[in-house]
Every structure is written in structure tokens, then in C-alpha cells.
């Protein structure tokens, strides 16, 4: 036996997948079924009691989805994954395992606008209280810790400004507070950054973006790093205490270092219900096979566009961590040496109106509320994704009125520059 271990690109194609046992089909089939027959009553009871490996019902698990779960877990270097209907669903399911009403979690202020809304309003109504901290000031995370803190939540590359978060510094705060660090790795993907290598305990993704990569499927995933000791004290009873719905099983005792992913499945997904369609899982899996190739092209194009915009007279500033002059360039070199991602913002000297005009003049860039597509995308966050925030919160989250966000696709970069050139001079 050799000690050689497969590399990232090999895992992107193979991890979790194996020729189908019944037909020999090489590509993972779409198991488009709600339910799976039991061998007998004992088999059914074993499956329901979490005592046997197998499938019951697609809300709880599905063989196509399981391949996706193992693949992303392997790419992230985690112990297990759980695919869900969206990135938002992943966040609900994760926090449901960690927080009780009245508890708190600390979140970086620079987040996807949808997450800011979800945390501020929906989670508040569950009694899960978000406490904001500034990722540019690690001390603000330390000062936010209280006896009610149950988790810390950050993005590795933050939306919309593409800033890079110092994961290791915030991980140290989480370890000291004895709470898990949750990292949303959507904009980086594990090709650029593997947060578990830097101290993350849980990784979440909107699969919708670069992982799926083609703008055709909504999906989310949770990856368990296997690094957190859930039984150290009584802070996480979903993991450490007997579960009445499963005959008194203690999930951490029974499942060890992938207990968190199991809790998300059997307590979160089962009871909250945001299951991923197997058809979406199939499309996302197909996308992931080319993740390394696409991310190389996304990053190469993004850097070229950022450089072009930096030199344009209509542009006031460009926020892209891949530029040597950028405030986050040192963090980008440390955490994301293969490229600083392909989502970034720039601001126009003409302010809000110039932003609105630019968006309407572009002919190749699509004006829509998504990122991480093969196609290049543009949006004016202040009037769309971040429109529900007040002006001060817009500025703090990197979505000031004069800011335009780009998600650079994998087209020929000369064509993207030409489109921006005509739109900026129109």
C-alpha cells in the first residue's frame, strides 16, 4: 500500500461516489423517490432507532444527497455533511442544535444581507439573539462573549465586499469561550479556503453559488469538522443529553466526532423539514466536478476586472482583496493564496445614480440577486440585497449607496472589460 493520498481535484470528481450497486451506472443516479422499502419490521425499527445504516424517507436522507454530503465533507476536510434546501436552511438547522430561546450568538457584521435579515428578524423571533461584532476588530468578538453565548458565526470571504476574515484569530476567541466557530465558506469554496484547517468547528455553504456554479439550483450544506467536544459541559443538550425521540440515545456518545452532523439530520432536518431535492443534488454534484477549474478562471478574471476598474476615472475605489493595495491583501495571501474569489464591490464617483445607470447599461453582465454563476453578474446592493438595512447598517456591511457588486463569471475577460467600458462611458 502506498501512502499517497488523493488531491483536491480527484476528491472533487470522486469523493462519495461509486458505481451504482444495482445497475453499475457510473454517474451518481438521481434517486427520485420519497421512500425506501424495509427488509422487515426489525430492519425498519433499526433504521428508525438510528441503529443501522440505510435510507427511510427523503426528508431525512437520500442516496443522491448522501454522495453530495460526503463529497463536500471530503473537500472541506470534515467528518460528515448534511445537505439541505438552501444556505438559509443550513443556518437555521445549525443554530437549532446549539441555541435555546434566550441564548446568544456572535456574528460578524460583514455578512450576506440575507443572513443579516435572517439573524436580526427571524431568529430574534425564536429567541436566538444575535450580537454583532466587527471582523476588523477581533477585540469586539472577545467583548461580545457572555455566559449566554453559544456560537460565533463568520464568513471566510465576506459578501458583498470580498473582505477576508482572520479565521484563526476568531477561532482563538471561540476556543477560549468554549463555543463552536461556524464559518460560512460560500464565497471561498474549499478550493480557495478550508476553514477547518484554520480552526472552524462547523462549515456552512450556500451550494447555490460557486460549488454548484451554474446558477441552476438552490441548495445548502452543513459540514461537521468533528473538532468540538459537545459533552464537556451541559451547554449543548441536543448533543450531550439523552434524546427522548430516539429512546434516550445520547448523540455525541453514540456517534462521536460526526455527532453534530447526525444531530442536524435527525433533530433538525427531520423536524424542520428543509430537505434538498435529489435532482438539485445531482446538478450540484455535476457542478462540483469542475470546481477547481472554474475557481481558477473565476479568480483570474476577477483580478483582471478589478485591475481594470482601479484604473478607470469613473471609479472612486475598488474593494478586492486580490489587489496588492487592498486593506485585506495580507489576509488574502495568508488564507486564500490561490485567489481572492470572484465577488467584490467598487464605488462610483457618481454615487447612487451612477450605480443604477451602470447596471442598466451593461449588456453582458446580468442584473440579478445571485453570485457564483458561470455568467458574470452585477447588482446594486443598496437598492436590492441590502435595501432592508438602514443607511448606517448598509455602510457597516459594505453596501453603501455608491457601491456596485460584481460576481465575475468564466467568460473571456476581454469581453467583460469591453462591456464595463461601454457601460461606464454611456
Amino acid at each position: 500500500m502506498t501512502d499517497r493520498l488523493p488531491g483536491f481535484s480527484t476528491l472533487a470528481v470522486h469523493a462519495g461516489a461509486q458505481p451504482d450497486p444495482t445497475t453499475g451506472a457510473r454517474v451518481t443516479p438521481i434517486y427520485q423517490t420519497t421512500s425506501f422499502v424495509f427488509n422487515d419490521a426489525d430492519h425498519a425499527a433499526s433504521l428508525f432507532g438510528l441503529q443501522a445504516f440505510g435510507n427511510i424517507y427523503t426528508r431525512i436522507g437520500n442516496p443522491t444527497n448522501a454522495v453530495l454530503e460526503e463529497r463536500v465533507a471530503a473537500l472541506e476536510g470534515g467528518t460528515a455533511g448534511l445537505a439541505v434546501a438552501s444556505g438559509h436552511a443550513a443556518q437555521v438547522v445549525v443554530l437549532q442544535q446549539l441555541l435555546r430561546p434566550g441564548d446568544e450568538f456572535i456574528a460578524a457584521r460583514k455578512l450576506y444581507g440575507g443572513s443579516i435579515n435572517q439573524f436580526t428578524h427571524a431568529f430574534k423571533s425564536f429567541g436566538w439573539n444575535v450580537v454583532w461584532a466587527d471582523p476588523d476588530d477581533i477585540g469586539s468578538f472577545e467583548r461580545a462573549v457572555t455566559p449566554h453565548t453559544k456560537a460565533i458565526f463568520i464568513e471566510s470571504i465576506a459578501n458583498p465586499g470580498g473582505s477576508i476574515t482572520d479565521i484563526e484569530a476568531i477561532s482563538a476567541v471561540a476556543r477560549k469561550a468554549a463555543v463552536p466557530l461556524i464559518v460560512d465558506n460560500t464565497l471561498a469554496t474549499p478550493y480557495l479556503i478550508r476553514p477547518i484547517d484554520h480552526g472552524a468547528d462547523i462549515v456552512v455553504h450556500s451550494l447555490t453559488k460557486f460549488l454548484a456554479g451554474h446558477g441552476n439550483s438552490i441548495g445548502g450544506i452543513i459540514v461537521d469538522a468533528g473538532t468540538f467536544d459537545w459533552s464537556r459541559d451541559n451547554k449543548y443538550p441536543m448533543l450531550s443529553e439523552p434524546r427522548p425521540e430516539y429512546h434516550g440515545i445520547k448523540l455525541h456518545e453514540t456517534f462521536g466526532n460526526f455527532a453534530f452532523a447526525i444531530a442536524c439530520r435527525v433533530l433538525g432536518l427531520r423536524d424542520l423539514g428543509p430537505a434538498l431535492s435529489p435532482f438539485n443534488a445531482f446538478l450540484i454534484l455535476t457542478g462540483i466536478e469542475t470546481l477547481p477549474l472554474r475557481m481558477q478562471k473565476h479568480c483570474e478574471n476577477a483580478k483582471a476586472i478589478a485591475e481594470y476598474l482601479s484604473g478607470h476615472s469613473a471609479v472612486a475605489s475598488v474593494s478586492y482583496a486580490g489587489l496588492p493595495s487592498d486593506k485585506y491583501n495580507n489576509l488574502a495571501r495568508k488564507y486564500s493564496p490561490k485567489g481572492a474569489g470572484a465577488v467584490f464591490t467598487f464605488s462610483l464617483r457618481g454615487g447612487y445614480d451612477a450605480g443604477v445607470n451602470l447596471v442598466s447599461n451593461l449588456k453582458l453582465f446580468s442584473h440579478l440577486a445571485n453570485v457564483g454563476d458561470t455568467r458574470s453578474l452585477v447588482i446594486h446592493p443598496a437598492s436590492t440585497t441590502h435595501s432592508q438595512l438602514d443607511d448606517a447598517a448598509k455602510v457597516k456591511s459594505g453596501a453603501a449607496p455608491d457601491v456596485v457588486r460584481l460576481s465575475i463569471g468564466i467568460e473571456d475577460k476581454e469581453d467583460l472589460v469591453a462591456d464595463l467600458e461601454q457601460a461606464l462611458s454611456a
Partner: protein
């Protein structure tokens, strides 16, 4: 042996090599992990022997309970200990008194006793601590992949359809990552405290 992280080949060699397993602390209560690990390993073709002095006279899935390892009437390849870390040493001492020594001492997930491990290794036995043989068998065969668990293995061969009593191939290609285990550290800390 470094007991913080086991190479897949070490675990693979043990699970491919042993045939009979005495499970100390096996429970007849069908919601206990020891019960369903016992049941799974029996389904995968291992000769399972339940050891628990509190249940002598009863059967576990058709196999009679014995009170002690010394009461077993045939050679055993592996002793699997389903007890807390503080109860490991007496079981290892008993195993080392057998006329034909077992080849492997295996301590269940959450259990770790480095002194007991050193004693068993000095007598030529292999030791695994803080692992579940059901999870490891499921992982190396990829059967556990149904639950979204990272098997940390790859194969381009057609997967078998598992049937009752069937041994599965554990000889897939191993992959790095995912072996970080908080439970390992926790068990180690507990054994250092006790």
C-alpha cells in the same frame, strides 16, 4: 502505536483479520450502542460472544451471555470493551490471563486507558482506543456513506448490495482529512484526570 490517530491500514488489518469478538459490557437493551454494535458485527459475519455477568443465563441475538472472558470455551481474536475508561484495566488483565491470548484489545468510542493499552501492547497485542468497530467497518466499506459521513475512502468499483452475514470489502483507497477527533482529546483528558 500512536493512539491519537490510527492509519486506515491498521484498522483495516484488524477488521479483516479477526473472526471472533468477545464484547465485554454487551447490553441486551436494544437501544444501547453496545446492542446495535453487537448486532451489526454479527450481521457482517463475526462470531460474537456477549460478556456481562449481570445477564448470564440469557441470550443476546441467540448467543449465550458469559460472565467473564475466562468462561469462553473457544479462542477469541478480539476483546471489545464497552465500558468506561475507569473499568478498562481489569478487563485487560483478565484478557492477558487467557491461555491463548487474543490478538486485539479494542476500547469503545469514548473509552481510553493508556496504561492498559501499554500493558496489552507489551504482551504483543494490538490496541485500538476510542473507536467504534461498527463505525470503522461502515466507514472502510463506505456503508456509512448513506448517512453523509466522510468515509475518507474512494473506489471506482461497483458497490456490493449488503446482505445478511455478508463481509464487505474494506480495501478502498484511503483519503486524508476528517480524522480530527474532539472525542479523542476528551477521552485522553478524562483518562489523564482519573
Amino acid at each position: 502505536m500512536n493512539h491519537d490517530a490510527y492509519p486506515d491500514n491498521y484498522i483495516r488489518g484488524i477488521l479483516n483479520g479477526v473472526k471472533s469478538i468477545a464484547m465485554v459490557g454487551a447490553s441486551p437493551v436494544n437501544v444501547r450502542p453496545s446492542y446495535f454494535a453487537f448486532k451489526y458485527l454479527a450481521q457482517r459475519g463475526y462470531d460474537m460472544i456477549p460478556v456481562n455477568p449481570g445477564h448470564v443465563g440469557k441470550l443476546l441475538l441467540g448467543k449465550p451471555f458469559v460472565a467473564s472472558l475466562l468462561d469462553i470455551d473457544r479462542p477469541i481474536d478480539m476483546v471489545e470493551i464497552f465500558r468506561n475508561s475507569s473499568h478498562i484495566m481489569p478487563v485487560v488483565d483478565e484478557a492477558l490471563r487467557l491461555s491463548l491470548l487474543p490478538k486485539v484489545i479494542w476500547m469503545q468510542l469514548g473509552a481510553r486507558d493508556d496504561a492498559a493499552a501499554a500493558k496489552a501492547e507489551a504482551a504483543g497485542l494490538k490496541v485500538v482506543m476510542n473507536r467504534c468497530p461498527k463505525i470503522e467497518y461502515g466507514r472502510l466499506s463506505s456503508e456509512i456513506s448513506w448517512m453523509g459521513v466522510n468515509s475518507r475512502t474512494l473506489s471506482s468499483k461497483r458497490a456490493p448490495l449488503p446482505t445478511q452475514g455478508m463481509r464487505l470489502s474494506l480495501d478502498r483507497t484511503s483519503v486524508g482529512g476528517g480524522e480530527t477527533a474532539a472525542s479523542d482529546r476528551a477521552a485522553k483528558n478524562k483518562s489523564e484526570l482519573s
